[in-house]
């Protein structure tokens, strides 16, 4: 029921406005950026060494003068080591993951901090660094935040929610988080649990279809759900919203833009008048939706991105020239030998294709699951859970899961069919493409996306998407796998280097 409907989204999306100087990214520039610059090097590398003077003697102890064979000039050289170039240490200031601060400096409660560390977040990402001080400041202010896929948006609003709760009222709903699909809601629920694992007395509940029994009260501080279910629960008075402090919409553009979901969100908002802070997060905010978003979350701080900043640089984007639609499967099977792959997601257009490929891959010994709209809610939860825990390594799905799903081990996304929108699929769907490939390369990791084209239509569509975002797509050939393997390796390598370089 909560399927995103790409077609209706597509009809109403307008292209982002042309770039202009005023729409510079990250509008609320914190003055700290400049003032703290002197200490970048110290902060970024998690300094562990002693001050420099001692470092020299430490170097002595470690390097033992074995330099002659390497062209050095003897023991004398061993008394110093070359410091890492500053630009390497501080990282790329334009990277969405770049930051100069630590979570401690952002003033986050230590119990929450522990949870963050246990999830292996070491430093705030750019969006976290920029948004968190505004988000957790008093009095609460609304926020509309845009940041690339996999840059820690969820963690940012979860930290905010956890910082706002009154822990003396464990059964009183105080924060509500809405997501467009049950999978995403479940995922956010998981993030709240992880980040909040050391927070005493935290209670969380999911409000997705089938999760709350009829007549039972919602008795948790944090409620994560889909708009329809939440609306029903409030109407049936199972959900007391009188002390709701914070409302958060993930994938906000997607929710506000769809007829059904958008209305439901609005209704929910009207039913919680006491709410003090409304947060909207997404990787994409088409302009028209943005206007609506600003009404939904009035006088909000906003953090926006330019269009050409939308793609994540860690994702190597390639395309495969397939001989025919039917020939795609053989090629798919071969791809897995080209590179080391953790988990992977294959996006297809039709449910039947999904079932088809999954049957063939299972026959070939892959651990595969398929998810699409035809599956029941609880079944979808358990299938996705299998994928998340790594019991199955390949997920085949339709656009249902194009957005938001965060499985960090996903290292390859395949567009088995190029995403299309409009009547009779006449136009390429650039937003969906972006969200799909954003399932890999999470939090600055390296990921690969490979799109399959086989005829003129699919080729042109992909070209248009590439032009839209200014991506250079690399062509892969199926004739000589040795060469293809080399190309893939080199592309991955350059994107690795790219994640750390000034290359916008």
């Amino acid at each position: 029921m909560s399927d995103p409907k790409p077609a209706s989204l597509a009809d109403r999306i307008t292209q982002p406005a042309p770039l202009d100087g005023a729409s510079a990214s990250f509008t609320p520039v914190s003055t700290k950026t400049a003032s703290a610059s002197a200490s970048w090097a110290d902060e970024v590398a998690s300094p562990t060494g002693p001050p420099k003077t001692e470092e020299a003697s430490l170097a002595d102890a470690q390097v033992d003068g074995q330099v002659e064979p390497l062209g050095g000039s003897g023991l004398h050289d061993a008394t110093y080591e070359v410091e890492v170039k500053l630009s390497d240490l501080q990282g790329d200031a334009n990277s969405p993951l770049y930051s100069i601060q630590s979570f401690e400096e952002l003033g986050i409660n230590p119990e929450i901090l522990k949870g963050i560390y246990s999830m292996n977040f070491k430093k705030p990402s750019k969006i976290q660094e920029k948004a968190l001080p505004l988000l957790i400041r008093d009095p609460p202010t609304n926020m509309i935040a845009q940041s690339q896929s996999g840059t820690g948006k969820t963690a940012a609003f979860v930290i905010t929610i956890l910082s706002r709760l009154d822990y003396t009222k464990p059964e009183q709903p105080q924060a509500l988080c809405l997501a467009p699909s049950r999978e995403l809601a479940r995922q956010i629920e998981g993030v709240v649990r992880s980040i909040g694992q050391f927070v005493n007395g935290l209670t969380i509940q999911a409000a997705v279809p089938g999760a709350v029994e009829r007549g039972a009260k919602v008795k948790a501080m944090v409620v994560v759900g889909t708009p329809g279910t939440v609306m029903d629960l409030i109407k049936r008075r199972q959900f007391d919203t009188s002390q709701m402090k914070i409302l958060c919409l993930d994938e906000a553009d997607n929710m506000l833009d769809q007829q059904g979901l958008g209305d439901q969100c609005l209704r929910v908002k009207q039913m919680i008048p006491a709410v003090k802070q409304i947060l909207l997060f997404s990787a994409t905010f088409p302009e028209e939706v943005m206007r609506y978003a600003k009404q939904f979350s009035p006088s909000a701080n906003s953090i926006e991105l330019k269009r050409d900043e939308l793609t994540v640089r860690g994702i190597s984007q390639m395309y495969m020239d397939c001989p025919s639609d039917d020939g795609k499967y053989e090629i798919l099977a071969n791809l897995y030998g080209l590179m080391t792959i953790g988990s992977s997601i294959i996006f297809v257009k039709k449910r039947e294709t999904a079932d088809n490929i999954s049957a063939r891959l299972i026959g070939d010994g892959h651990q595969v699951v398929a998810v699409h709209g035809a599956f029941e809610g609880a079944e979808r939860d358990s299938i996705l859970e299998q994928f998340r825990t790594g019991q199955s390594k390949v997920l085949i799905t339709t656009n249902v899961l194009a957005r938001g799903i965060d499985v960090s081990s996903v290292s390859m996304v395949i567009n088995y069919d190029i995403p299309m929108k409009g009547r009779s699929d006449s136009e390429p769907d650039a937003e969906t493409y972006l969200h799909r490939i954003g399932r890999t390369g999470r939090f600055g990791r390296v990921g690969v996306s490979i799109s399959f084209v086989f005829d003129r239509k699919s080729y042109v569509a992909l070209q248009q998407i590439a032009t839209h975002y200014g991506i250079d797509l690399i062509r892969l050939d199926t004739d000589d796998w040795d060469t293809t393997e080399k190309i893939v390796k080199s592309v991955i390598r350059s994107s690795r280097a790219g994640t750390n370089m000034n290359n916008n």
Partner: protein
């Protein structure tokens, strides 16, 4: 090539203006600093010092590579083969450590620690103790099996990428197998080069081998907790095939790829030499295993386990033994190269040399960003643990790399003096322990608990304030207390 050009072009037209920008921001190499006065001469060299964490009862660092070499600097030392056979190491055959060193009643004194003063050997001391380093230029012509002129000590591959890098080998804290593994890694590299060069001459055969080689990765990627047998068989079949394919590459001596080459054994399937092509495939298999760990276990530590289990069982398989011994050192050599801190290497993350020593990778001269590096280290730490902590007590086979090496890896990290520690070490240590505390306790009982206390409480508490990697190590202790009820504090 073309790809790079495209990317460069893109950079050049980017809004911030920046391929050049990057260059401009790069700070020129710092001129040699005036040498700081050498540290006050420490009392005396201690050649017999026990390496960190080695239970005192076991052999002292008898590693051939640590012994003084009679050869002079420019001259290539004896051949690999002789070199190895003359001085076999005892590391592998070492039984599980005797419990006495660990069974102290109070865990408070660090069971690993040496007095901190011992850890810095005087600067002059190692110069005489170091093994001769071969000049980097003498890579022999691509012929394999080796000519008698082969150098046992190859130029350190990671070193050769960095200018002015110094090679780590002095320190008494290095585990005994450390340097030999680097040689094995170099030997494997040359073997692959030799075979690749040969394949270039024969395109159809190259295609056949390439296709077979590419079949190694998918089954590794498909391993899960549940259905591993099937995938493992696929890999075994590929390796078996590589033993059988007729080819021009001939045989090579597996001793070149072993820490402690065994004597011929009666009834062993292979007592003489083995097909070079087989070693080539095993080497690619090892690379694939390490790659899979680095890729997958970096974000999902539990994913390391099925890979480790498969690797151990494939190496231990009778078909692939040489003189009755598994060729697992090929995998260890790769791990040694990718994650040196497991074997005791230390370095300062703020210096080029320090990073190189720690196995911090770079691409086109640019260091991997911190997150990628730490991810890799996490995956490799988890992988190493999954390798060591296998229980072979019910098996007829012998554990090719028993848990004692796990203990040593932890020991060698926690015995790092506070001023030499690095985030890399904290990260690897966390990965070694995370999700493995159960097996660790099973093998070592209360000694493991004492070790965990040192690793998760004492060691990170000495970290510089604000070190996040150390903080997350401490959080692991809380997590264990909360989830499994294991209190180490």
């Amino acid at each position: 090539m073309e790809l790079d050009e495209l990317r460069l072009k893109k950079r050049a037209i980017g809004p911030k203006g920046t391929a050049g920008g990057r260059k401009a921001r790069r700070i020129p190499k710092i001129p040699p600093r005036l040498p700081t006065p050498p540290p006050p001469p420490v009392q005396k060299p201690r050649p017999s010092q026990t390496p960190a964490g080695q239970p005192p009862s076991t052999n002292t660092p008898s590693s051939d590579s640590l012994k003084p070499q009679p050869t002079s600097f420019g001259q290539p030392p004896a051949t690999t083969l002789n070199h190895v056979q003359q001085k076999p190491q005892q590391q592998i055959s070492q039984p599980t450590p005797t419990p006495n060193p660990f069974s102290q009643p109070k865990p408070t004194p660090n069971p690993f620690s040496q007095p901190p003063t011992q850890s810095n050997p005087p600067a002059t001391f190692p110069a005489q103790q170091r093994p001769a380093q071969a000049p980097p230029t003498t890579i022999p012509a691509p012929t394999f099996p080796p000519q008698p002129t082969l150098n046992p000590v190859q130029p350190v591959s990671q070193a050769s990428k960095t200018n002015g890098q110094k090679v780590e080998s002095s320190a008494s804290h290095l585990l005994p197998e450390t340097n030999r593994l680097l040689e094995i890694h170099g030997n494997l590299k040359r073997l692959r080069k030799y075979i690749n060069a040969g394949l270039e001459q024969d395109p159809p055969f190259k295609k056949q081998i390439g296709n077979l080689r590419r079949k190694l990765k998918p089954p590794l990627g498909q391993l899960t907790q549940n259905s591993k047998q099937n995938q493992r068989e696929k890999i075994v079949n590929i390796l078996l095939e590589s033993l059988a394919i007729p080819n021009q590459f001939g045989l090579c001596d597996p001793a070149m790829f072993m820490l402690d080459p065994p004597e011929p054994q009666e009834g062993a399937r292979y007592n003489g030499e083995m097909p070079s092509l087989f070693i080539y495939f095993v080497s690619h298999f090892a690379k694939a295993v390490v790659g899979q760990w680095a890729q997958e276990a970096s974000t999902k530590p539990t994913a390391a386990l099925p890979i480790g289990v498969a690797a151990v069982s494939i190496f231990a398989r009778p078909d692939f033994l040489w003189r009755g011994k598994p060729l697992i050192d090929i995998l260890l050599a790769k791990i040694r190269h990718e994650c040196p801190v497991i074997f005791g290497l230390r370095g300062n993350e703020k210096t080029e040399e320090g990073r190189a020593r720690l196995g911090w990778k770079r691409e086109k001269g640019v260091w991997f960003d911190e997150q990628s590096h730490m991810d890799r280290m996490t995956g490799l730490g988890a992988g190493y643990a999954s390798l060591c902590l296998r229980d072979f007590s019910k098996s007829t086979m012998k554990h090719p790399w028993p848990p004692t090496h796990y203990w040593q890896a932890i020991a060698v990290i926690v015995s790092t003096p506070p001023n030499e520690t690095s985030s890399t070490q904290y990260t690897v240590l966390k990965a070694l322990i995370n999700e493995n505390e159960g097996s660790f306790l099973k093998f070592y009982g209360s000694a493991a608990r004492a070790a965990l206390r040192v690793a998760l409480v004492d060691f990170p508490s000495q970290a510089p304030k604000g070190n996040v990697a150390a903080a997350s190590l401490q959080v692991l202790a809380d997590q264990m207390a909360q989830n499994g009820g294991l209190r180490v504090r």
